[in-house]
């Protein structure tokens, strides 16, 4: 079961990511204990050089993890025909209890890595590496997450058994079932669209406020995170139905299939990018007053807010286009 090329590729990436996480986590602990920029000792110089390696390795691994996240979902969808009862990624992920946790862990790693890479970027902008400690505290936190994600993925793939009868997305995303997915699909389409519009407006207001007042990006990050949750709920509750042109099909994975023109990627791509940028803008705002960064960091934050707003706008356009071109009429 594990002998499939995409699975081997995914495990390879996880293995490399884990090795890098373990090593850089250990190095992070050393930095936290002994980092002293004022010292000219050999150990400090060695550490300063190693930070360059850690950044490079981490950037590389996180890029690979991003590609792996896409491949993971795509592969789950492709493998559906191997399992009795599965019709899309939902069925494949449901074959054993580790599938969905593995996906969630991968998404968490994606957001954590995005924020960390931005911290790294900001840190290099200051001549005295002002964020080094913060960066390594974060890294020590991310390392276990990477390991957890790799462990879940490995357990999931090792326990894939084709004789298990799994359930299809039409079973999981049905309002009559007592679970979260069902709650989300049971959300009334009107309420979901109002919520989506409302949180979209909140994001625009918070973004405009942060751009004009040159502070308050934390509020923007919060609004972005809320929009992310609401958007996922809205995709399940109403947007996917428009894409399927079917009022009772709510699956958030089938929209990634070729039958629907890979439309899901147009929704999830900008949504994930916008949220990651919003989160890192919020985190960086906390360091805008660090002396060596006052000249450069605000500009970076403003650029991230603009890019994030742009990504959310693309997501909005994709949602509106899905509704406009659909033959399904839910209202009126």
């Amino acid at each position: 079961m594990i002998f499939q090329t995409p699975i081997l590729a995914l495990l390879l990436v996880s293995l490399l990511a884990s090795l890098v996480a373990v090593w850089s986590g250990w190095f992070g602990l050393r930095v936290l204990a002994r980092w002293n920029l004022a010292s000219g000792s050999r150990a400090q110089l060695q550490m300063e050089r190693l930070t360059e390696l850690v950044s490079t390795l981490f950037r590389f691994v996180m890029l690979a993890e991003l590609v792996a996240l896409l491949l993971f979902v795509f592969n789950a969808d492709r493998m559906a025909s191997l399992f009795v009862g599965a019709m899309c990624a939902v069925g494949t992920l449901n074959v054993n209890p580790y599938g969905f946790p593995a996906l969630y862990a991968k998404i968490a790693v994606f957001f954590a890595a995005a924020v960390w890479l931005m911290l790294d970027r900001a840190d290099r902008m200051g001549r005295d590496f002002p964020l080094t400690r913060v960066k390594y505290v974060a890294l020590v936190g991310i390392a276990p997450l990477v390991l957890l994600s790799a462990g879940l993925e490995l357990t999931y793939f090792l326990n894939l058994r084709t004789d298990v009868i799994t359930s299809c997305c039409s079973k999981l995303f049905t309002p009559v079932n007592p679970n979260l997915a069902a709650e989300l699909s049971g959300l009334s389409p009107g309420a979901a669209l109002w919520l989506l519009g409302g949180s979209g407006a909140a994001v625009v207001l918070a973004g405009a406020g942060a751009l004009i007042r040159r502070r308050g990006a934390q509020g923007f990050a919060l609004a972005g995170a809320v929009l992310f949750g609401v958007a996922i709920a809205a995709i399940i509750s109403v947007v996917s139905s428009y894409i399927y042109e079917h009022p009772n099909h709510h699956c958030p994975f089938c929209i990634l299939k070729p039958e629907y023109g890979y439309y899901g990627y147009a929704l999830y791509g900008p949504l994930f990018a916008g949220t990651a940028l919003a989160l890192s803008a919020g985190v960086l705002q906390g360091f805008a007053r660090v002396p060596s960064l006052t000249g450069v960091l605000p500009a970076l934050i403003r650029r991230q807010i603009w890019l994030s707003l742009g990504a959310f706008a693309l997501f909005g356009v994709a949602v509106i286009w899905a509704i406009v071109r659909s033959q399904l009429i839910l209202f009126g």
């Binding site: 090329t5 995914l10 390879l12 360059e52 390795l57």
Partner: protein, 380 residues
């Protein structure tokens, strides 16, 4: 152009020139890397194409096949069972099928002998329609040559060849002999009223499981094979074979990664001097790392493209001449077929991850080591 893009363009420009200065060494690296990508890509493309052929063939297969079991082996099934199946709600039709294998001692090959379902395909009694592999195996020298089949020494039956299937359908028809029902029963001595198995068509695929359940109660001794079962088995088989080849290639990838790490860490005197000069004129460690990453990326992407294109030509141009025996199995009259070219994003992504990522990972530490050393230390 933003400063970021300008910087990257300048780095790429510099790196290309630097690569060209050490043409021999880099060319060797690209060639070896391309060969590895080629092996992995060929295995992936070929097994995906075979799987697609199998899916296309199976799309025409009946939803459900019912076989009689005796002593755990398949046996002939009585005509009376058909009525039990058609009585189940949801079954559109159930038809007895007559087919079997015939071992031809002259060519040493097994033929599949069948009575066609479709009346339009039914040959006249005394004639047969054959797949393209049979004239090939028998070495027919002229177009109208009759087919002689001998069941035991001293016995010979003559059939006129009414038509030969072309190689478009070779995957399924290569070893096929189509016969009229009367000829078939006489040739194999099959009594009337029994069939090899029963093909059941079902209109709604969601009802298959329920229909199988009901049919099992009506015919407890029978075995039910659904089309999805067959498709699933094929998919498992092909992806397992592909995975096995890729895992074997893993050893080669590992060896290559070690080779690449070795190459990247053993800087030639000239390269070391170059890095020393760059650092002395004000390049940062991160600039040198970026330059070296560009070097790795150019080599990796070049090799990836060369290897993938070569694999594409190998699989779809030559029918995967190098790997075919492993991946498709072997038989005396193997169908002579062309695979329909196709390639998708997932294959390319998996291929990229499995070949390029180990290479980059192996070279990162040596790159950093070279870039972070002091200029005077390197040049000394």
């Amino acid at each position: 152009m933003t400063p970021f893009l300008r910087r990257q363009r300048a780095l790429a420009d510099y790196t290309l020139a630097a690569l060209a200065r050490r043409r021999g060494k880099n060319l060797a690296l690209v060639v070896i890397f391309s060969v590895i990508v080629f092996v992995v890509a060929s295995a992936m493309l070929f097994s995906a194409a075979l799987q697609r052929e199998a899916d296309l063939v199976l799309a025409e297969a009946p939803e459900l096949i019912v076989q009689q079991l005796v002593l755990g082996r398949q046996d002939l099934i009585a005509e009376t069972e058909i009525a039990k199946l058609t009585a189940i709600r949801g079954v559109t039709a159930a038809k007895g099928r007559l087919w079997g294998y015939f071992y031809d001692r002259i060519s040493g090959a097994n033929y599949t002998v069948m009575v066609p379902d479709d009346p339009a395909m039914m040959p006249e009694p005394g004639t047969v329609a054959v797949g393209e592999g049979i004239p090939r195996a028998r070495g027919f020298t002229f177009a109208q040559a009759p087919l002689f089949l001998s069941r035991w020494p001293g016995e010979l039956q003559k059939f006129a060849v009414a038509r030969t299937f072309d190689s478009d359908s070779a995957l399924v028809s290569s070893d096929l002999v189509l016969m009229a029902e009367s000829d078939f029963r006489r040739f194999f001595e099959v009594p009337p009223g029994v069939y090899t198995d029963i093909a059941v068509s079902i209109r709604n695929p969601r009802e298959i499981a329920t229909i199988v359940e009901k049919a099992t109660r009506a015919m407890p001794a029978a075995r039910f094979v659904t089309r999805d079962d067959i498709a699933r088995t094929y998919q498992k088989l092909f992806s397992w074979r592909e995975g096995l080849l890729v895992a074997l290639a893993g050893a080669a990838i590992l060896a290559f990664a070690i080779f690449a790490a070795e190459k990247a860490s053993g800087l030639s005197a000239e390269e070391a001097r170059e890095i020393g000069v760059l650092k002395a004129i004000g390049w940062d460690s991160s600039d040198v790392i970026a330059m070296k990453l560009w070097e790795g990326a150019l080599i990796a992407i070049g090799a990836f493209l060369i290897g993938t294109v070569a694999a594409y030509l190998h699989v779809f141009g030559t029918g995967a001449a190098l790997f075919a025996p492993v991946l498709k199995g072997w038989s005396v009259i193997y169908p002579d077929f062309r695979l329909a070219p196709q390639i998708d994003g997932m294959q390319l992504t998996a291929l990229f991850l499995i070949t390029v990522v180990p290479y980059v990972a192996a070279t990162l530490v040596p790159i950093w080591r070279a870039a972070s050393a002091d200029p005077d230390q390197i040049m000394r």
